[in-house]
């Protein structure tokens, strides 16, 4: 990093970020166009069809009433878990390498949360009544059932969404201010508004520092609680294969795991297509790689644990469950998951692998595919092997479901593309902090532009 940053000046990062906001190539518009098109055709169109026809448009059936929609929900929630969480942890531990990447990581959190919320809408049988799950005074005096794990979800996710959006906004106030005077037209007004009139006085810096740290401290336990709660949607039931104490840590680890992989993917894209080569460097990939390795080991450990307890219990319910998972109808998916999430990441042991970009990209995507499979299997293999053998059924996702999965990805991409044009996707001031204090030199060229 140092070697690269020797010649880097405050003004450079400044200009780079501002460029990333104002200068837009045809490539961007094309990508955005495609994303929006896919979003409309693969997400909204099938969804509207499903609203008209009923959940029957999906492949779910009587014992397996949950399916890919819920799997996607968990997946996106999981993906949201490294952004803010990681950023907070690193902020508190005050690690330098965080600074170039945390902004986009937090954005990832935000948008995957939004997509997750959308998946809930898709999942519901009567989404037009979703407001009933929100506690608001009404003439029926009916309130949501606060004993329900699903309602914990509602509370947790709302909080998490609020928290992380505030967190990302607070972090960018100085940057809004910084780009405020470099932009014109609507952007200028927007940033003036967003920067709340930030000047950069020592008082402001001081307050921001405090607030930011407090937020970080609050958000870490929140993020952990969110995915524990998501896991309780399952673990609080008495369904064999779901009713497991290990589930909360299992889900949290899985979440951070897939989230970190997600960050790697996003980092790669930003670096490549937004020309942030100088700021997002081998170092970041190296550190993320190490993190991934640790997480993958944790994940494998918990999986083995789950198998063992299932086998050790010896009860027919657990045992059939296990047999079905390993050798049943969905077995290929299971082994694919093991390969992608348990075996492949072992490559990260090698320094060379961690510091080479393309392989990291491939691996990170593989991991997330594996993690999606995991979420799918958790639902499909357990619900189709309930207590009464007479009710056993196999569940096969329908085309509508598959296309909605694709569409949800498009939704995420769209949101992210819009984000990089509005938010400084690399934190200007924090990157400046990591640089050497400038030496005396001629007037910066920005005055010439005045």
């Amino acid at each position: 990093m140092q070697t690269e940053e020797q010649q880097l000046q405050f003004t450079d990062i400044h200009n780079d970020v501002v460029r990333s906001l104002v200068v837009t190539g045809r490539g961007y518009y094309i990508t955005l166009g495609c994303a929006i098109f896919v979003l409309l055709t693969c997400f909204f169109f099938p969804w509207f069809y499903q609203l008209y026809y009923g959940i029957g448009a999906a492949g779910m059936n009587s014992p397996t009433v949950w399916g890919t929609y819920l799997a996607s929900f968990i997946f996106w929630i999981g993906l949201s878990h490294s952004g803010t969480l990681l950023s907070c942890v690193l902020h508190i531990t005050n690690s330098q390498w965080r600074k170039a990447m945390y902004r986009s990581a937090e954005a990832m959190t935000l948008f995957s949360l939004m997509v997750a919320a959308m998946m809930v809408m898709v999942h519901l049988g009567r989404p037009w009544f979703i407001h009933w799950s929100v506690p608001y005074p009404n003439q029926m005096e009916l309130w949501p059932n606060f004993r329900s794990p699903l309602l914990f979800d509602v509370m947790a996710i709302t909080t998490y969404l609020t928290g992380s959006s505030i967190f990302i906004y607070m972090g960018s106030i100085p940057d809004f201010a910084a780009v405020r005077d470099r932009t014109t037209g609507w952007r200028h007004h927007l940033y003036t508004l967003l920067s709340l009139g930030w000047r950069g006085t020592d008082t402001e810096w001081h307050r921001l520092g405090w607030a930011y740290t407090f937020l970080a401290v609050l958000i870490i336990p929140l993020a952990v609680s969110v995915h524990s709660i998501v896991s309780w949607d399952f673990a609080m039931s008495i369904v064999p294969g779901l009713h497991q104490t290990i589930f909360a840590p299992y889900f949290v680890v899985g979440a951070i795991y897939s989230g970190t992989a997600g960050i790697v993917t996003v980092m790669f894209v930003l670096r490549k297509y937004m020309n942030f080569e100088q700021y997002i460097t081998k170092l970041h990939f190296d550190n993320l790689g190490k993190l991934l390795l640790v997480l993958s080991l944790l994940w494998s450990y918990i999986n083995i644990l789950e198998l063992f307890t299932g086998w050790y219990s010896g009860t027919s319910t657990e045992y059939e469950q296990l047999k079905y998972k390993l050798f049943g109808y969905y077995a290929p998916l299971y082994w694919e998951m093991i390969l992608f999430c348990g075996v492949a990441p072992l490559l990260l042991i090698s320094n060379k692998f961690r510091t080479s970009f393309v392989p990291m990209l491939v691996l990170s995507i593989a991991i997330n595919i594996g993690m999606y499979t995991e979420r799918f299997l958790i639902i499909a293999t357990t619900l189709s092997r309930q207590y009464l053998p007479e009710s056993w059924r196999v569940y096969v996702p329908s085309l509508v479901e598959l296309s909605i999965i694709v569409g949800s990805v498009a939704m995420f991409v769209t949101l992210f593309l819009l984000f990089v044009k509005i938010f400084p996707s690399v934190s200007i001031y924090e990157v400046k902090e990591t640089m050497k204090i400038p030496k005396k030199k001629g007037m910066p060229e920005w005055q010439a532009t005045h």
Binding site: R147, L196, D202, H206, A211, P444
Partner: protein, 171 residues
């Protein structure tokens, strides 16, 4: 007419130095404007107390109370016995409480930040665009010519690149 002396520095240390001298020369508390947080301001210009922590704390307390009240209160308001559990069921309600604690903690922190940093700024205040990029500014308000000249002198000898006089609202 209240006017300020403004000195632009190329590096934070000389800016800090200037601030110290101004303070020593009996000026009102100088203000530093910088593109990045400068460390060690407290040592120079004396420590700052932040009220934010109190906001966070009491926000959390409020959240906890309101969380449990919401869960328990609504349960009592319209009795729906479920699963043979009591109407007021502690463990799940604690989870609600937990989430609400954090939610209100966060909101209160933001509030605290806005208030203590006087955001959003309604009226224009002394603002130095250069300080948004790579300059470190020191402003100190000085009424009258000769006080301004004294300030300018101090700033210059501290190594200010430029010194100008600005008045509130100008930028």
């Amino acid at each position: 007419m209240a006017s300020n002396a403004l000195g632009l520095f190329l590096d934070p240390d000389s800016a800090l130095e200037a601030a110290r001298r101004l303070k020593g020369a009996g000026f009102a508390r100088p203000e530093l404007i910088s593109p990045i947080p400068i460390h060690g301001v407290e040592d120079v210009l004396g420590p700052k107390k932040s009220v934010i922590r109190r906001f966070t704390f009491f926000g959390g307390i409020f959240g906890a109370l309101s969380g449990f009240t919401l869960a328990a209160g609504t349960a009592v308001l319209y009795l729906h016995p479920t699963g043979g559990r009591p109407i007021i069921t502690i463990p799940p309600f604690l989870i609600i409480t937990y989430e609400m604690t954090i939610l209100f903690g966060i909101l209160a922190t933001v509030l605290g930040f806005l208030i203590s940093a006087r955001f959003p700024a309604i009226r224009e205040r002394v603002y130095v665009p250069e300080a948004g990029v790579d300059r470190f500014a020191v402003t100190v308000d000085c009424d009258g010519e000769e006080r301004f000249r004294r300030a300018e002198a101090i700033l210059r000898e501290a190594g200010a690149e430029t010194v100008r006089s600005i008045s509130e609202g100008e930028s």
